[in-house]
C-alpha cells in the first residue's frame, strides 16, 4: 500500500499539518515566554505580551486539533502514545495553564512584583521542554503489547529525549526572538537581533546533534536516510537547511526585520520534514503504522468533508486576525 495515496496517508498529512501549524504558531509565543527573563523591564514585557495577546488562543487551538484529530483518525495511536507520554503530557498541560492565564492575569494583579510574569516564563519553558521530550520519546519508540502501552511511566526519560527537549527550547526561543525582530522596534528589537544570532547558532548545533543521534536509535532510521536510492530524496533536506541558514544569517546581518522570522519557520519546516522522513509510515515508531492505527473509513471520510471546507476558512479568518493586528507594537504611544 505504501506509495499510493489512501485515506490513512491523507489523514497522516492532515494531522502532521495541524501539529506543524501548532509548532510554528504556538512556537513563537512559547518562545517569547522562554525569553521573558532576559527582558526584565516592565515596558518591554508589556510590548512582548501585547504582540501576541490577540492571537495566542487561536495558536493553542491547533494543539487541540492535533490531539482531537489524532483520537478521531488514529485512535489506537492516541491510546498508546498518551499513556506512554504520561508525565511529559501532564507537565505540558500544567505549563500551558500557567502561561495561558498569565495573558489576562498579569494585568489584574495589584502586587508590585508580578508573579504572573514568572508563571508566563516558567509555564512556557515547562510546556516547551515537555513537548520536545515527548517528540524524543516518540522517536525512540515505546513498548506496545496488543492494543496497549505496556511500559512504565518514566520510560520516556533518556538522554535522547532530554536532548530533543532542549533542542525545542532553543528552537522556540529563536522563533520568539525573530518574532520580536518583526514586531518591535528600538532597543527591544536590537536586543532581539542580538539574541537571534546566539540562538541561531545554538539551534544549528541542536539540529546537528539530533540529526546525528537519531540514526543510532534504530537501524531503520539509518537505512531510511543513507541507503540508495532513498538518499536522492533525503539529501536535499540537509542541503536546504544549509541554504536557509545562509539566508537567515544574511538577513540578520542586514537587519531586514521581516525576513528572519519567516526563514526560521523554513528551518522548522525542514526539520519537521526530516522527522516525517524518519517516521513514515509509522505513527508509533517501529510498532504501529498509520494503517494499523487508522479509524474506519467512514469516520475518516466524515471528517474529511469538515477539514476540506473548514480548514481553508479557518486559515482565512486567522490570517485576517493577524492582519488586523499587523505592524510594529509600540509601548505607550497613543496613550490617552
Amino acid at each position: 500500500m505504501t506509495g499510493s495515496i489512501d485515506l490513512a496517508t491523507v489523514w497522516a498529512f492532515i494531522i502532521a499539518f495541524a501539529v506543524f501549524v501548532y509548532v510554528v504558531m504556538d512556537g513563537f509565543d512559547l518562545g517569547l515566554g522562554i525569553l521573558f527573563p532576559l527582558f526584565p523591564q516592565k515596558a518591554d514585557r508589556d510590548v512582548i505580551m501585547n504582540s501576541v495577546a490577540p492571537v495566542w488562543d487561536g495558536n493553542e487551538t491547533w494543539l487541540v486539533l492535533g490531539g482531537g484529530g489524532m483520537m478521531a483518525a488514529f485512535p489506537l495511536a492516541y491510546a498508546v502514545l498518551m499513556p506512554a507520554l504520561y508525565t511529559p503530557m501532564i507537565a505540558m498541560l500544567i505549563g500551558l495553564i500557567f502561561r495561558g492565564v498569565a495573558f489576562e492575569f498579569r494585568w489584574r494583579t495589584l502586587t508590585k512584583k508580578n508573579r504572573w510574569d514568572i508563571a508566563f516564563a516558567g509555564g512556557s519553558l515547562l510546556a516547551t521542554l515537555a513537548q520536545g521530550i515527548a517528540l524524543g520519546a516518540i522517536l525512540q519508540g515505546v513498548h506496545v503489547e496488543g492494543r496497549h502501552y505496556a511500559g512504565g511511566w518514566w520510560d520516556w526519560l533518556t538522554l535522547f529525549s532530554i536532548l530533543t527537549g532542549l533542542a525545542l527550547v532553543i528552537g522556540y526561543a529563536l522563533l520568539g526572538a525573530t518574532w520580536l525582530v518583526l514586531k518591535t522596534e528600538g532597543e527591544l528589537r536590537d536586543k532581539a537581533y542580538h539574541l537571534s544570532w546566539w540562538l541561531l547558532f545554538a539551534m544549528l548545533g541542536a539540529i546537528g546533534a539530533v540529526s546525528i543521534a537519531t540514526p543510532f536509535l534504530h537501524i531503520q532510521y539509518t537505512q531510511r536516510w543513507f541507503t540508495w536510492p532513498n538518499i536522492i530524496l533525503t539529501a536535499p533536506v540537509p542541503i536546504a537547511v544549509a541554504g536557509v541558514t545562509v539566508l537567515l544569517l544574511r538577513s540578520l546581518a542586514n537587519k531586514l526585520d521581516t525576513q528572519p522570522f519567516f526563514l526560521t519557520l523554513a528551518l522548522f519546516a525542514l526539520s519537521y520534514a526530516g522527522l516525517g522522513i524518519s517516521m513514515y509510515p509509522y505513527i508509533v515508531p517501529q510498532s504501529i503504522t498509520i494503517w494499523q492505527a487508522a479509524s474506519p473509513e467512514n469516520s475518516q471520510i466524515f471528517m474529511l468533508f469538515g477539514v476540506a471546507v473548514l480548514v481553508p476558512l479557518i486559515l482565512g479568518y486567522t490570517a485576517w486576525a493577524y492582519w488586523v493586528f499587523r505592524g510594529k507594537v509600540r509601548a505607550g504611544s497613543g496613550y490617552h
Binding site: T61, M71, A72, P83, I94, G100, H148, G306, V329, G332
Partner: protein, 469 residues
C-alpha cells in the same frame, strides 16, 4: 505513595475534579458571550452610552473567564488519552470525529475572533466588531452542540456497530449525533448557561443597587437579568422535566437512583422528598415521601407501576446517595431561581424593582446558584450512568489506561494544587472587577495599560483617539 490505591478510582477522581472546575467557565462564558452580543446590538441600535459601558465592563470579565475556560479545556481534551486510553481506542472512531468537529467549527471560530472582540473595536470599526462578537457567541453555542452530542451518545448510544478490534464505529452518523437524549440535554444545558449568567449579572447589579439605586449601569443590568430569570427559569423547569422523562425511557436505572427507588412499586410509586439512601441495605432511611406522586410525575398517572433497583443486578447500580442528593440540590436551585424571577416580577409591577432591598439581597445570594445547579446537574447525570462510560456497553473499569496508581495519583495532586492556585486567583480578579460599578466612559480590555490602547500603526492610533472621544 498511592501504591495501595486503585488507579481507576484515582482516574475518576481526576476526571471529576478537572471537569468540575472546567464546566464552571463554559457555563458562564456561553451565557456571557450571548449577553455581550445583545449589549453590543442594543448599543449599535439605540446609541445609548450605558450599553457600551456595560459591554466593556462585562467584556473584561469575559476575557478572564474565557482564558480560564481555554486552559482547563485543553486538559480535558488530552485526559481522554492519558487516563482513559482504552476508552479512546474503543470510542475514538465515533466520538473523535464529533470532538474534531467541535474544534473545527467552534474552538477556532471563538479563538479567531476573540482577539478582535477584545482588542479590535478601534481597529475594525463597529460593524466588523459586532460580527466578531457574534462569531464568538455563535462559537460557544456550536461548541455546546458538539460536546453535548458526544456526551449524550455515551449516555444513549445509537447508530453504532462494533468492529473486529472491539471498537465502536459509526453505522449512521445522523443517529450518532442526534441520539435520543441529545436534544433534551442540549436545551437543558444551554438554558442552564443562560440562567447562570443571568444570576451572576443580576447579583452584580443588585450589589451596586444596594450601594446606589441610581447607578445607571446597575439598573439596566439588573433589570435585564431579572427578565431572564423570570422568563427562563420556568422554561428550564419544564425542559428539565422533559429531560427526566427521556432519561426514564433510555436510562431507567439513573432515574431509580435519582428518586431513591430501591423497591419496585406495583400500584404507584411515592415521591421521596428527603431521606438517607443506604446503598448497602438497599433502602432509603428516614424517608419523607408523598404517596403516588412519583408515578404521577414520571408516568402522568398516580397508580402506574414503577420498577425499582431491585430489578437491576447490583453490579449495575450507580452510587445512589450521590445521585439522589445532587439531583435534589439541582431541583432546589431551579425552584429558587423561579422564586427570584417571580419576586422580581412582583416588584417590577409595583415599581420597586430598583428600591426593594429584600429583592437585591435575594438576587445577590442567588449569584452562585447557577453554578451550583450546573455542577449538581452534571454530577447527577454522570454519576447516575455509572458503572458505565458508554451506557450499558462499556464499563468504566474497562475504559481506563494501563497505568499504575502512583502515576495517576501524582498527576491528580499536581492538578489539585495548580487549579486551586491558578483559578482561585482568577476568581478573585473577577470578583474584584465586579466590585467596581460600570461607570461613564467604561473602557474595554485594550485600555488597561497604555501599550494596549496604543495603535500598532499611527493611522490606527488616530482612529482609536477619534472613536474614543
Amino acid at each position: 505513595m498511592f501504591e495501595s490505591w486503585d488507579a481507576v478510582v484515582l482516574a475518576r477522581a481526576q476526571f471529576a475534579f478537572t471537569m468540575s472546575f472546567h464546566i464552571v467557565f463554559p457555563a458562564f462564558s456561553i451565557g456571557l458571550a450571548s449577553y455581550l452580543a445583545v449589549l453590543e446590538a442594543l448599543w449599535l441600535w439605540t446609541g445609548r452610552e450605558v450599553f457600551i459601558n456595560l459591554f466593556n465592563y462585562w467584556l473584561k470579565i469575559f476575557a478572564v473567564a474565557f482564558g480560564m475556560g481555554v486552559v482547563s479545556g485543553i486538559v480535558m481534551s488530552y485526559q481522554f488519552g492519558t487516563n482513559w486510553s482504552a476508552f479512546s481506542d474503543k470510542t475514538g472512531p465515533v466520538l473523535g470525529p464529533l470532538m474534531a468537529y467541535e474544534v473545527l467549527t467552534a474552538f477556532f471560530l471563538e479563538a479567531g475572533f476573540l482577539g478582535v472582540m477584545l482588542f479590535g473595536l478601534e481597529r475594525v470599526g463597529h460593524r466588523l466588531h459586532f460580527i466578531a462578537t457574534l462569531m464568538v457567541a455563535t462559537g460557544t453555542l456550536i461548541s455546546a452542540f458538539w460536546i453535548l452530542s458526544a456526551n449524550s451518545w455515551m449516555q444513549t448510544p445509537t447508530g453504532y456497530a462494533v468492529n473486529a478490534d472491539g471498537q465502536f464505529v459509526a453505522a449512521d452518523w445522523l443517529k450518532v449525533i442526534f441520539n435520543p437524549s441529545f436534544p433534551y440535554r442540549l436545551v437543558h444545558m444551554v438554558l442552564a448557561a443562560y440562567l447562570t449568567t443571568a444570576l451572576v449579572v443580576g447579583a452584580v447589579g443588585a450589589f451596586h443597587l444596594l450601594r446606589d439605586r441610581n447607578q445607571a449601569g446597575a439598573r439596566v443590568m439588573f433589570s435585564m437579568a431579572m427578565w431572564m430569570a423570570t422568563l427562563v427559569a420556568p422554561i428550564q423547569i419544564l425542559a428539565g422535566d422533559q429531560h427526566g422523562l427521556n432519561t426514564l425511557e433510555h436510562q431507567p436505572t439513573k432515574i431509580m437512583a435519582m428518586e431513591g427507588h430501591f423497591e419496585s412499586h406495583k400500584n404507584g410509586a411515592p415521591l421521596i422528598l428527603f431521606g438517607l439512601p443506604d446503598q448497602a441495605a438497599g433502602k432509603v432511611k428516614y424517608a419523607v415521601e408523598i404517596p403516588k406522586l412519583g408515578s404521577l410525575i414520571l408516568k402522568h398517572s398516580p397508580d402506574a407501576p414503577l420498577a425499582g433497583l431491585d430489578t437491576v443486578p447490583r453490579e449495575n447500580w450507580p452510587p445512589v446517595p450521590i445521585t439522589f442528593w445532587s439531583f435534589r440540590i439541582m431541583v432546589g436551585m431551579g425552584f429558587l431561581m423561579m422564586g427570584l424571577g417571580l419576586f422580581s416580577l412582583w416588584n417590577r409591577w409595583r415599581g420597586t424593582l430598583y428600591e426593594s432591598r429584600l429583592l437585591h439581597l435575594f438576587a445577590m445570594a442567588m449569584g452562585p446558584a447557577g453554578f451550583i445547579a450546573v455542577l449538581a446537574g452534571w454530577i447527577t447525570t454522570e454519576t447516575g450512568r455509572q458503572p458505565f462510560t458508554v451506557y450499558g456497553l462499556l464499563r468504566t473499569v474497562e475504559s481506563a489506561s494501563p497505568l499504575a496508581a502512583p502515576a495517576v495519583g501524582s498527576s491528580l495532586i499536581a492538578f489539585v494544587i495548580v487549579y486551586f492556585a491558578v483559578f482561585s486567583a482568577g476568581v478573585i480578579y473577577i470578583l474584584r472587577m465586579m466590585a467596581t460599578p460600570p461607570h461613564h466612559g467604561e473602557q474595554g480590555p485594550s485600555s488597561d495599560v497604555p501599550a494596549r490602547a496604543a495603535g500598532i500603526t499611527p493611522a490606527a492610533g488616530v482612529a482609536a483617539g477619534g472613536s474614543a472621544s
